[in-house]
Subunit: 291 residues, 2 copies
């Protein structure tokens, strides 16, 4: 997905909001704003929007002299969801399709997002998750593809949400839909917003059930040319990619790789428009196949 | 009033909106955006917000190769209000304070604005004008000052609205509150948005009742250092300045000149905050004297 003028507006607003939230002194804000505007003036519009958010989150980290300003929040959401793990599991096991129920919770978990303009109510979202509509529903195709794959790359998105990703992976392993050695999970290569890193995968025990690698880059998405060789090798050899969230959609939408499923809540009005779904819809879409 | 980050956000959104409204080709928009972002990156935050709107309106005019994109709209609003001139006059004359009633209509006329984020309902605003509250009410002081002044500079704002300015000036002349040679009206020095120029003053007959000069500059406000010598001479010798609208407030708010009355509708949330009045309030405020 290419950068639009709307992404500039959104990036500018969010950068201002973050500088205020982190209480940065006025002169530092003005200098940082100058650099950000210069960066925006040299943008390549054929890049994807996470190029912008990567820039200003890196900037915020530098200004704060803090490599991970969301560290505590990420731990909080991991523990919050983990503390209800058994409740969620028993809720799921009471349904007549426990795979789909787990899948819907995994999708609902995508609401935990500290990106631009996010006001989320996690309790409400999770409470309603099992009865949500999938506005683009390639779920059955996905399940068929999971059965037939020889290597699945599962790209996670946010901390907290990653607990549900673990739950979904556990469920498909439990039902022998796929064997443990055929699935590799992916986190970001470094902290950015509340995106999950290897530490979150360890925190929630995902590393105990499957191999987990990282992208080698801390963009809030997959900017392929910046990722590690290891990641790219998996990316190109996997015959099924499960991609969570908007950042991964924005960056992977235009790659050549065909067998990608995008699982996301359409939290940005622009993306909802592109996908032709209502704002905040639940989506499970196979790349290249529309509604 | 100094430029804030909110003004950058507002300027960026409005520039994008205008380029779309005027159907500019994508490559031209991208080049113009690059220049605008470079301009913003070099901003001096001690300037006032109209420096930003002046820039992008000049840019839009250049890109359209049209010195006055709002020409027809300005004529339309002048004629629309002129066509009801007699109705407004008789409405006013039925009230028990025809000066105040004219004044309230003059203020209400400030709603006719094609600046950022303006969705105005002129009929509704005019209909309610006489019973509106003045959230900052230095009206009585203003009337006293009009009686005592030896030179009044009346700085107009928008086309259409200028008909009501004429009506107010006519009313104070009619009641001999001031003599004709003691009042000079001011328009912009060139077209910018729907701000009134000398042509509008002629269009509505203001030039027939008092002397009208222009600022010599086409900023949507008074950036003193860019104005003509004639304007500055009047500005410094006048002992009472009546300033209509936000653009004039934003630029004149921090000048040394003391006896300025700001008459405006607080259409920008930031200005409403600064003035400590609700958004869209009617305000008549003597400079340096708060609520």
């Amino acid at each position: 997905m290419n950068i639009t003028f709307k992404c500039l507006e959104c990036g500018l607003s969010n950068f201002i909001k973050l500088m205020n939230e982190f209480n940065m002194p006025e002169d530092i804000q003005k200098r940082a704003m100058k650099d950000f505007l210069l960066f925006l003036s040299h943008l390549n519009y054929s890049d994807s929007p996470p190029v912008i958010s990567k820039y200003y989150h890196e900037e915020i980290k530098k200004l704060l002299n803090n490599k991970d300003p969301y560290y505590d929040k990420k731990r909080f959401y991991n523990q919050k969801i983990l503390s209800e793990y058994d409740n969620f599991r028993s809720l799921i096991n009471k349904t007549n399709n426990s795979v789909r129920a787990t899948f819907m919770l995994t999708l609902a978990g995508n609401i935990i997002d500290f990106g631009p303009n996010q006001n989320f109510n996690i309790e409400e979202t999770l409470h309603n998750a099992l009865k949500e509509t999938l506005y683009i529903d390639h779920y059955n195709k996905l399940i068929n593809d999971i059965y037939r794959s020889s290597l699945i790359l599962y790209i996670t998105d946010n901390a907290g949400e990653i607990v549900f990703d673990k739950m979904f992976i556990e469920k498909i392993l439990e039902l022998n839909m796929v064997s443990r050695d055929k699935i590799v999970a992916v986190t970001r290569g470094g902290p950015v917003i509340n995106d999950a890193t290897i530490e979150d995968a360890q925190d929630v025990g995902l590393t105990e059930i499957v191999k987990v690698i990282d992208t080698g880059d801390c963009a809030p998405g997959i900017i392929l040319e910046n990722t590690s060789e290891e990641f790219r090798e998996y990316f190109h050899t996997a015959d099924l990619i499960i991609s969570k969230g908007q950042g991964n959609y924005e960056t992977l939408h235009s790659t050549n790789n065909k067998n990608i499923y995008f699982l996301l809540i359409a939290k940005c009005p622009l993306i909802a428009d592109i996908l032709k779904v209502p704002h905040k819809s639940f989506v499970c879409m196979k790349k290249g196949e529309g509604k």
